[in-house]
């Protein structure tokens, strides 16, 4: 852009700004590989359900949570009461409450940018920051998050566009999301110190699919947090007993 070349001498953006944006976009690519095809599937489903095409981008801006948006297509077509939609949103997206613990929001200083960063705190954004904990700057984090929304809204629009010519989405592409979470788990579990957390997560998930298979994600996350609280309490008790002896 010509604007940036003329503005550069007055306000040096710091040598790293471009590099940070590039790094942010690079970090978004793997998740984008999963988000774009699922966005296409989402756009196709919106049109196939008989909804107006603009419902796809509208939901992607209002809800901006893939699994919830896919659920909402069905709920809207059957004219589900708003109270039910509100409760479903609360339960399906309740997991976002846990993301505040380690999401590096503190690197973002600008208020508007901070508000956007919170609004755009999707699973993939949390996952990418959880997998590589260090090195986040405002520009890197925001460019990752903006790239994610471009992939998702763009995928939805592409799905709407091809709905008339394509018989259906490519079967199995949605697996990319699972593969992504598998690789991110491997990256976060590099040290031996992470093994107890992994075991507790496995325990929580197993209990959740037995106790509440219809709300497994919600229950598993809740149980996991409860187990971690128990782990912390146990550690406090042990250290107290150790200092008494």
């Amino acid at each position: 852009m010509t604007v940036s070349t003329t503005a550069a001498p007055q306000a040096p953006p710091g040598p790293s700004r471009r590099a940070e944006i590039a790094a942010g976009v690079r970090l978004s690519l793997a998740a984008g590989l999963g988000m774009f095809p699922i966005g296409i599937a989402f756009g196709l489903l919106v049109v196939q359900a008989g909804l107006p095409w603009w419902v796809a981008p509208a939901l992607s801006l209002a809800a901006y949570a893939g699994s919830l948006e896919l659920l909402l297509i069905g709920l809207i077509t059957t004219a589900t009461p708003l109270a039910t939609i509100a409760l479903t949103t609360l339960l399906v997206n309740f997991r976002h409450v846990f993301y505040a613990f380690s999401f590096p929001l503190h690197v973002v200083r600008n208020r508007v940018a901070k508000a956007y960063s919170v609004y755009a705190l999707i699973d993939e954004a949390y996952a990418v920051t959880a997998a590589s904990r260090d090195g986040w700057s405002s520009w890197r984090l925001l460019s990752t998050q903006i790239a994610f929304q471009v992939y998702w809204v763009g995928g939805g629009l592409a799905g709407v566009a091809v709905a008339s010519v394509m018989p259906g989405p490519i079967k199995g592409l949605e697996f990319a999301l699972c593969a992504l979470f598998v690789t991110l788990t491997l990256d976060a579990a590099r040290s031996r110190g992470q093994v107890p957390s992994l075991l507790l997560a496995g325990l929580a998930f197993t209990a959740a699919i037995v106790l509440a298979p219809d709300a497994a994600l919600f229950v598993a996350l809740l149980l996991f947090v409860l187990l971690l609280l128990g782990r912390f309490a146990l550690g406090v008790l042990r250290s107290r007993r150790g200092s008494d002896a």
Partner: protein
């Protein structure tokens, strides 16, 4: 054909409701956690949570594939195996690992492997 019964006001209220609840779920914990940042409990949770939450998301998306297509259970498990193997042996290049795992799954669920093998023999 768009549904004749679909009220634009209903759609608008759905969008507003979903937006408000989603934003509250994402924003309120940051405000609530601010004074707790220094506490030992919050610092422990910050270290312990990510790997477990990621594992739960991985397990849930895998379960989604298994429930959505029970016939593709073997395909999904093979694809997870390929993803893990490529990631650990291929130098943790996420794009490569995700691409290889997804390609494997798409191939397995779209191509009748048994028939293809019979054709080869």
């Amino acid at each position: 054909m768009p549904d004749a019964a679909l009220d634009p006001w209903y759609l608008a209220w759905v969008l507003v409701t979903v937006f408000a609840i989603d934003l509250a779920l994402r924003a309120l914990p940051f405000a609530a956690l601010k004074p707790l940042r220094a506490s030992a409990l919050v610092r422990s949770l910050t270290v312990w949570m990510p790997v477990g939450v990621l594992a739960i998301l991985a397990a849930e998306t895998l379960r989604g594939s298994l429930v959505g297509d029970p016939g593709g259970a073997v395909s999904a498990l093979v694809a997870v195996g390929v993803t893990v193997a490529v990631h650990l042996l291929g130098g943790r290049r996420t794009l490569l690992s995700v691409g290889a795992g997804t390609f494997t799954y798409v191939l397995l669920v779209n191509v009748d492997v048994a028939a293809a093998l019979r054709g080869l023999l």
